[in-house]
């Protein structure tokens, strides 16, 4: 068992300033994860060379991998910091743990990035059930256990951004909306009430930056911390948009 853990962290004080790297060496504790390492640095922000520095800024909240806040690149792979257990990381690389912010989003500070484009995408695809209002008018539609079991995995998307980070189509030359929002289109289009505005969602993902931008690299599904079948959703969305395009053309 190691006595110390070495972390090399990419830092950036402000969006407009330059990046730099710092190395920290912290005492090893059993069942540590990347969050507890960052907590230890916050409590005593001293680099491995013994220089006092500022605490590393990072995003987190639940620490149970259900809020989606703590996504970052850890040893070069995007994942949630709370479930990144130090023992497992040291098996990947016994020398150090390397932390970098996600690269596909604007940097706020250190490991914090701005993921508002993902929330904007949920607006674009109208990811909600268009109910009449909130007065009591009885129960919702009846849903079979099979439908529930198909929908449930899609409902667990926490807008963490891993799928966008891993996607080669998310780059400066493209305005691809990303797998997370497309999967939400399928969730709501398959719901008995949600499907009443399915055409609006399909229109949205047929616009520039929509589903046709997907390059089928299938990286998204590999990095999703919740094992959401994102590529199945994209395939379904492809079929739904094709049918929608034909009906739209026929009814012209």
């Amino acid at each position: 068992m190691p006595r110390f853990v070495t972390l090399t962290i990419q830092r950036q004080d402000r969006p407009e300033t330059r990046r730099y790297w710092q190395t920290f060496c912290i005492p090893y504790v059993e069942q540590m994860n990347v969050i507890s390492c960052l907590q230890a640095i916050a409590a005593d922000p001293t680099t491995a060379d013994g220089e006092a520095t500022t605490p590393v800024a990072w995003d987190c909240n639940c620490l149970e991998e259900v809020c989606g806040a703590c996504s970052m690149n850890i040893n070069g792979r995007v994942r949630q910091a709370c479930t990144a257990l130090v023992d497992a990381l040291l098996e990947e690389n016994p020398n150090e743990i390397r932390l970098e912010p996600m690269s596909k989003f604007p940097i706020v500070r250190d490991l914090i990035v701005d993921r508002s484009r993902m929330f904007d995408a949920l607006k674009r695809v109208r990811a909600w059930i268009p109910v009449d209002g909130y007065y009591h008018i009885g129960p919702g539609p009846r849903i079979s256990p099979r439908q529930q079991e198909e929908a449930y995995p899609l409902t667990r998307c926490m807008t963490c951004g891993c799928c966008l980070e891993a996607c080669p189509q998310i780059n400066n030359a493209s305005d691809f909306i990303g797998a997370a929002a497309i999967s939400q289109v399928i969730l709501f289009n398959d719901h008995p009430t949600g499907k009443l505005i399915a055409h609006e969602r399909l229109d949205a993902i047929m616009e520039p930056g929509g589903i046709t931008e997907c390059g089928n690299a299938q990286n998204c599904v590999k990095v999703c911390p919740k094992d959401i079948p994102l590529t199945d959703s994209i395939a379904k969305a492809g079929r739904q948009t094709s049918i929608h395009a034909i009906t739209r053309w026929l009814s012209r």
């Binding site: 109910v131 667990r156 709501f188």
Partner: protein, 663 residues
């Protein structure tokens, strides 16, 4: 006249429910949150949400019974009208969530499935896998996003609440908040403000709460004059997974689906859990509480697990833990009903709980106490008068509190799966109350208040920040926080002794002194988390004092507040006559205790320390009775209590009948 605006602080279930209902009623809402609302702590709720349903009704259940279970479970410390109203709304709220697309688990016929939770005998809990809180929060988040596109809701998702703005008449006219990225401090004028700012688990160091749950927002309201009620009532969840960074919740649904809690009968048994045969396992909850078994209310399960470990039965050689065992349940059932929470255990502990019993121990979980708020009774129903301005309003006019931040619904102990209900209920009903309040507001809108009111408050917060940023002491805020958590967890949680609580109070004063000499390691004026944490720590210390002082003064046992010195020992005689006599004495002591302590603790902030006073509890609907789950002699106490109550009501009637009668 400018438009009247509402500010909602906090985007968890309560804040989102309030926001969407306010938007529907035509209001414009500014929604402030520390982060994207989709990441709020409500996502952590796993088990489900309670309401009476078609099946339980046919088993003899009713809204009244849900109400009765809730106040009995809460040891009668709640005002009853709001609780009754909440339980009456339960089925309607589940229908609404169902319409909003929550993927509740389904029966083969396509109806919503329900499970049983602690503190009730009916399967009243609707659930969506093991991530019900996440599913509910997302459904409301989606609705609020829709209102954003309609320009009825404006989200400010990097905003930290620093305090309310209260005018010279004592009326709330808005808030001051800081952008957590640009660090700009500004005022948000508003005609009504809703605090939906959650609980304060971080005061106890490690807890099951999210990192945002410092309680700082509530403490800031308290320091600005809002009363803080029943602070000493903090729920410790019986089953959490101990770890270095936090305690992760293992939902009560693990027991609801048949999970069994045990330790080896022989405390020295060194075999692995699976090698220990059933006969050599001590299922202590099932043995001691045959009726409820593993589903006793949370405070009881917590104390039992705690004391079994203290007696030397812990299954963890380095600390305290007992087994929570699901291995007898078919894997397919576990995957279908509990996959989400089992995954947590697997991911964080590296062990599959389908094969190996989990190791768990209690952890601070829920804040029953909170910001004081009012209500108005509907005399026709005994519940709430919906749309009365007083509902959920704090003692500051125009300032409302809802969700875990308020104190209204759970009394001395919260039942599992009632928190999601109380959060959404309070969120939904606060909207008509605010609309009524705004309609009655005689004076101009907040936007017409003198700008000096807001400028002054902004300057005050800027100066406080400046002082903190330039402090030149030597104290590390994280060390102070660790010590705060240690003293609070040790002395103000499961078992409380006055001597220890008094020591904690002086420790809190010492920590406050040291806090004045704190030194920041980051002076940045951009996304300075260190500054925000250190500022919150100062607020946590003040709230901790209210919690500890409330606990010190309350000399009784009630719900989560357990002081062995003041426990009334249960009757234990073997012959029936003595047993009944003992039970009668027990009931008399219980009644005397209730006369003294069936009161709401109300803390008012003073720089020198909290001032505590007590208010009567409204028990107009269900007369308080002994809470005897698992108590020694429970049966005879219940019997004797009924007889004594009958005698008393006869006496009361006789007296009332004779009053004013001709002599």
């Amino acid at each position: 006249m400018a438009e009247q605006r509402v500010v909602v602080i906090g985007g968890g279930l309560a804040g989102l429910a309030a926001t969407m209902r306010l938007a529907e009623s035509g209001r414009t809402v500014d929604l402030l949150s520390l982060g994207p609302v989709k990441r709020s702590h409500s996502v952590c709720a796993q088990g489900g949400i309670n309401a009476v349903n078609a099946v339980t009704r046919q088993l003899g259940d009713s809204e009244w019974k849900h109400f009765d279970d809730t106040v009995y479970g809460g040891d009668f410390l709640q005002h009853q009208p709001p609780v009754k109203e909440m339980c009456d709304w339960g089925p309607k709220i589940i229908d609404l969530l169902d319409r909003l697309g929550v993927m509740f688990n389904r029966t083969p016929e396509g109806h919503r499935d329900y499970r049983r939770f602690g503190g009730t005998l009916f399967p009243r809990t609707a659930f969506a896998g093991a991530t019900t809180g996440q599913q509910l929060l997302y459904a409301l988040d989606e609705q609020v996003r829709w209102w954003e596109t309609e320009n009825r809701v404006y989200k400010h998702e990097m905003a930290e609440f620093l305090g309310p703005v209260i005018d010279e008449q004592g009326i709330c006219r808005g808030v001051v908040a800081q952008d957590t990225c640009t660090m700009v401090i500004r005022a948000f004028p508003a005609d009504a403000v809703v605090l939906a700012t959650g609980g304060c688990g971080l005061i106890f160091g490690k807890s099951t709460n999210s990192m945002a749950c410092t309680g700082a927002a509530n403490a800031r309201a308290y320091r600005a004059g809002v009363h803080y009620a029943n602070g000493e009532f903090v729920q410790v969840h019986p089953t959490a997974i101990p770890a270095a960074d936090k305690l992760r919740l293992m939902s009560e649904s693990a027991r609801g689906e048949g999970g069994r809690v045990w330790v080896p009968r022989d405390p020295k048994d060194a075999r692995s859990a699976r090698e220990i045969p059933d006969g050599e396992r001590w299922y202590f909850l099932e043995e001691r509480y045959p009726q409820y078994g593993n589903l006793v209310p949370r405070d009881i399960a917590t104390r039992e697990i705690f004391s079994v470990c203290r007696e030397g039965y812990s299954v963890d050689p380095h600390g305290y833990a007992v087994y929570l065992d699901l291995t007898h349940i078919p894997r397919a059932d576990l995957d279908r009903k509990l996959a989400g929470i089992l995954e947590i255990y697997e991911k964080f502990q590296g062990v599959d709980p389908r094969d190996e019993p989990m190791k768990i121990f209690p952890g601070v979980h829920y804040t029953m106490g909170g910001l004081w708020c009012g209500y108005e009774v509907d005399p026709h129903t005994g519940g709430l008068k919906i749309g009365a301005p007083a509902n959920q309003m704090t003692n500051i006019p125009g300032l409302y509190a809802i969700g875990e931040a308020d104190y209204q619904y759970h009394g001395a102990n919260r039942l599992g799966a009632n928190s999601l209900l109380s959060c959404i209920f309070a969120g939904l009903i606060v909207s008509p109350s605010i609309n009524a309040y705004l309609g009655n507001l005689s004076r101009k809108t907040a936007a017409d208040s003198p700008s000096s009111l807001f400028e002054h408050e902004v300057e005050r917060h800027q100066e406080a920040e400046h002082r903190l940023r330039n402090a030149t002491g030597h104290e590390n805020p994280y060390t102070i926080h660790r010590e705060l958590g240690e003293t609070m967890t040790r002395d103000v949680t499961v078992v409380r002794h006055n001597k220890n609580i008094a020591e904690t109070l002086s420790t809190l004063d010492e920590l406050t002194d040291r806090y004045r000499h704190v030194r920041l390691s980051d002076a940045a004026d951009w996304a300075n988390q260190h500054l925000a944490f250190t500022r919150a720590l100062g607020d946590m210390l003040e709230l901790a004092k209210a919690i500890a002082k409330g606990a010190l003064l309350r000399d009784e046992c009630r719900g989560a507040h357990y002081k062995p010195e003041f426990e009334i020992p249960g009757p234990d005689a073997t012959d029936q006559d003595t047993l009944r006599r003992q039970a009668r004495q027990w009931c008399e002591r219980f009644r005397a205790r209730n006369e003294q302590w069936l009161k709401t603790t109300v803390a008012e902030y003073h720089p020198a320390g909290p001032a505590i006073r007590y208010e009567e509890v409204d028990t107009s609907l269900i007369p308080p009775r002994p809470r005897t789950y698992g108590l020694k002699g429970a049966g005879v106490i219940d019997d004797v209590w009924k007889v004594m109550e009958a005698e008393r009501s006869t006496a009361e009637q006789r007296y009332m009948g004779s009053a004013g009668a001709p002599q």
